[in-house]
Amino acid sequence: MTSNDNHKNNLRQIFWIWLAITVFGVVVGIYGTPWLMPTAASDTMHLSILTMVVFTVAAAPVAALVYAVVIVALTKWRYRGEGIPPDGPPIRGNNPATSAWLVVSTLLTVFLLVWGLALLAVDNGAESKSEMTIDVTGQQWVWSFGYAGTQVHSHDLFLPVDTDVKFEVTSKDVVHGFWIVQMGIKVNANPGAITTTAVTPNRVGTFDIRCTEICGLNHAFMVTRVHVLTKKNFEQWLASQPATN
């Protein structure tokens, strides 16, 4: 076999290995990612999971190409003799290959950008339309929630389903991270400043709030729950609460 035939063989092998790994990556991306992530309780979280899936699918062929070349290098191009191997072909570059690589990686990057910017635009909906506002206060190591327009405060968060909710977040001491895990929203609670985020819960149930910025001894225990109720149940709950300061 001439080295040219050999080379064509190698290209064919690279192609098949690339295809196999790509398929594997795409399958893992489509089925594995949503399975590993929490079940979404808002559209925001849906978009977050969808983005993870899309990026995994887009990344699979890139990683697969690298791994395919690595596998062929380790099996076919490996020198198995004794001592220092003879010199390989003096390839100092390949302009078409370099250009193609740059063009493809640029196109992928543009795709990522457009995807990200489009999602940002979609995502800002809840905040501008907000139907209710929650005051969130972090302090070492509890969360407290005030319901705007009422005197009600709570340590578990209660939300009505399918309502655009805006959170105004602050802290009494150090920086905390306000994160509703299953809703895909997060913003830091800073002392002396109010930050905002917003979400539309779309599923009735109980979900997790965890702190994401180290805030001292009990950072790991600065957790609470959010209860998403039907609108009617939420009104009943709100009416049943005593007014507190």
Partner: protein, 615 residues
């Protein structure tokens, strides 16, 4: 050399000849104690920042005393008094005929400094590794209290900072000192005394960082976020002092590296014939000169808040933690590339030599590195997407961050192009290169997820982020650093690192890395925040697996340490050019003579002429 000079430098007197690591440590402790006693005596002990003032001044005393005790100021002192060092002094400083003693002194020979950096790196990474094991042991099961929460939080911050400092010097320290001057055809670095200064300033910083853990009560993590850093105990004062000292060390080293490459190249060594490691080194050093001043500033302002009642980062005094975060990440993101680029440079050298092929597209990779440096200065706020600071800047920072994947892709193109159809020689250095390629793809791609704001809103501050940057730092930079160690060790010691133990350590670290950090990705995807000392039951299995993987990495690193120690004493002799390399460091004898070259070589091509040279 005439015999009187010869005698003079053997028996000669002078303070210079009596200083070493021992005198430095003693002097550091004495000066530290004096500073402590004086500050206790003279400062107002009812003042708010009294404890911090005392701690910082004690730290200053240690650093100044240590540098005096090692002899860092002897040369300038002599010059100042008009008695500049003579030839015998210079030879003594360079460590001529001093044997092992020279490794414990303020020695200017770049090869001695390189070896000292190897040891310093091992100390930093070893201490950081022990803390990592403490962290993982604490997380072995939910609610485990291997250490209490206060100690655990201290472990987090000091582990992070030890590893960051360790990785900053892991490749640049040993090899930009030992190998780089030889590669460019120089007899030493441009500023040999500054070279020693950078090393010993680093050594002075290490006990401060370890001491900060001992006096403890630190809750701020390695990012030292305000105002939690203001709440932390006096351990933080030593922590910040250590970083300030380190920035001085790295600035001095960076200037030295750049000047060496720009001004000390031998005849015919044009910039286009430089080995790629030299390019990577000056890019990293230059980027460090941009980044580390922010480090110095952020730590200084933080100390000022604590000591003298300023309020740069304290909201109740009109300051803001966002200022701290901006300053920190202005340093923090370029720093990633300060760490990465020397490792990439070493990886590319190894890939070319062990594929027996020229480096693929030399100019493209230089462009790629330049692109990484430029962009890395413009992406810092992607660490702040969820802080609430300037939400409208999200889009632009997403843009710059995603653009970085283009020059990163160039690094992969060049690596793959270099091994493409080569005669791949799977010796130890090349094995770590393949590990690097496999891991860096994972680290790189998971970074792209995080650059997307809706995903970052979910993933920021979770174990997903931790796993991502550990794939970059452990899976990529550490693999590159170990590959470089296997590659250049024969030039340092004249011996190979034991291949059998090397392979065992590779597989332990390689498999351990994937076990540790894939399970950590899953913890993050399922919703576990980072820096947790304890966790909910749903994270039980993945955390258990992560801890087992971490133990595997530790076992692999211990095998590697054993291999390095035994091989240094009694490894298989290697000869001057065991890998058939073509760059200048392989053309000089081993052990490398004091001034490297008897006659400076004249260069007619770059060192990548595989398959081209007629010889």
């Amino acid at each position: 050399m005439n015999s009187t000079l010869e005698q003079h430098h053997v028996v000669g007197g002078g303070l210079l000849r009596r200083l070493n690591f021992g005198t430095a440590a003693v002097s550091g402790l004495i000066f530290g104690f004096i500073a402590w006693a004086l500050s206790h005596h003279f400062l107002d002990d009812s003042g708010q920042g009294f404890a911090d003032q005392v701690t910082v001044l004690t730290g200053c005393g240690w650093v100044v005393g240590f540098l005096l005790g090692i002899g860092a100021l002897t040369g300038p002192g002599k010059w100042f008094t008009g008695r500049d060092q003579n030839h015998a002094d210079e030879m003594y400083l360079a460590g001529k005929d001093l044997g092992r003693k020279r490794y414990f002194q303020y020695t200017t020979d770049h090869k001695v400094v390189g070896v000292q950096y190897i040891i310093a790196t091992m100390v930093l990474l070893g201490a950081g590794g022990i803390l990592a094991m403490g962290i993982r042991t604490n997380l072995l099961t939910p609610g485990n209290h291997f250490v209490n929460q206060q100690v655990y939080n201290g472990f987090l911050g000091v582990h992070g900072m030890l590893m960051i400092l360790g990785l900053i010097v892991a490749v640049a320290g040993p090899w930009a000192n030992f190998i780089l001057p030889i590669q460019v055809g120089a007899r030493d670095m441009a500023f040999p005394r500054l070279n020693a200064l950078s090393l010993w300033t680093l050594i002075a910083a290490i006990p401060l960082l370890l001491g900060s853990l001992a006096i403890g009560a630190m809750d701020m993590g390695w990012v030292t976020q305000g105002p939690i850093s203001d709440q932390s105990g006096i351990g933080f004062d030593l922590f910040a002092m250590s970083i300030i000292t380190f920035t001085i060390s790295t600035t001095v080293a960076g200037v030295n590296t750049i000047c060496t490459v720009l001004t000390m190249r031998t005849k015919g060594m044009t910039m286009e014939r430089l080995p790629i490691f030299a390019w990577a080194s000056i890019f990293a050093a230059g980027l460090g000169l941009y980044a580390f001043p922010f480090f110095l500033v952020v730590m200084s302002l933080n100390l000022a808040d604590r000591m003298v009642g300023t309020s740069f980062f304290i909201a109740s005094g009109g300051g803001t933690g966002w200022l701290q975060e901006n300053l920190f990440w202005l340093m923090g993101h370029p720093e990633v590339y300060v760490i990465l680029l020397p490792a990439v440079g070493a990886i590319l050298e190894i890939a070319s030599v062990f594929s027996r092929k020229p480096l693929f597209s030399y100019r493209t990779v230089i462009g790629g590195m330049a692109g990484l440096c430029g962009l890395s200065a413009l992406v810092w706020a992607h660490h702040m997407f969820t802080t609430g600071w300037a939400p409208t800047l999200g889009g632009p920072f997403m843009l710059t961050t995603e653009l970085i994947s283009i020059p990163t892709g160039v690094i992969f193109l060049v690596l793959l192009g270099t091994i493409w159809r080569g005669n791949i020689w799977m010796k130890m250095p090349m094995i770590w290169v393949f590990g690097f390629i496999v891991n860096f793809i994972v680290g790189g791609i998971t970074g792209i997820y995080l650059s997307d704001i809706p995903v970052d809103n979910q993933m920021h501050g979770t174990m997903f982020v931790v796993a991502h940057f550990h794939y970059v730092f452990v899976g990529s930079v550490l693999f590159g650093a170990i590959g470089a160690l296997f590659y250049w060790f024969p030039k340092v010691s004249g011996r190979f690192i034991d291949e059998k133990m090397g392979r065992i350590s590779f597989w332990l670290v390689f498999i351990g890395t994937h076990v540790t950090f894939i399970s950590m990705f899953v913890s993050g995807l399922r919703g576990m925040s980072r820096r947790y000392s304890s966790y909910a039951l749903i994270f039980e299995h993945t955390n258990f697996i992560t801890t087992i993987g971490a133990y595997m990495i530790m076992a692999g690193m211990l095998v590697l340490l054993g291999a390095v120690i035994t091989s240094w004493r009694s490894g298989e002799p290697s000869g001057p050019n065991p890998w058939g390399g073509k760059s200048l460091e392989w053309m000089v004898p081993t052990p490398v003579p004091l001034e490297n070259f008897e006659v400076l070589p004249v260069i007619t091509s770059d060192p990548y002429t595989y398959g081209e040279a007629k010889s």
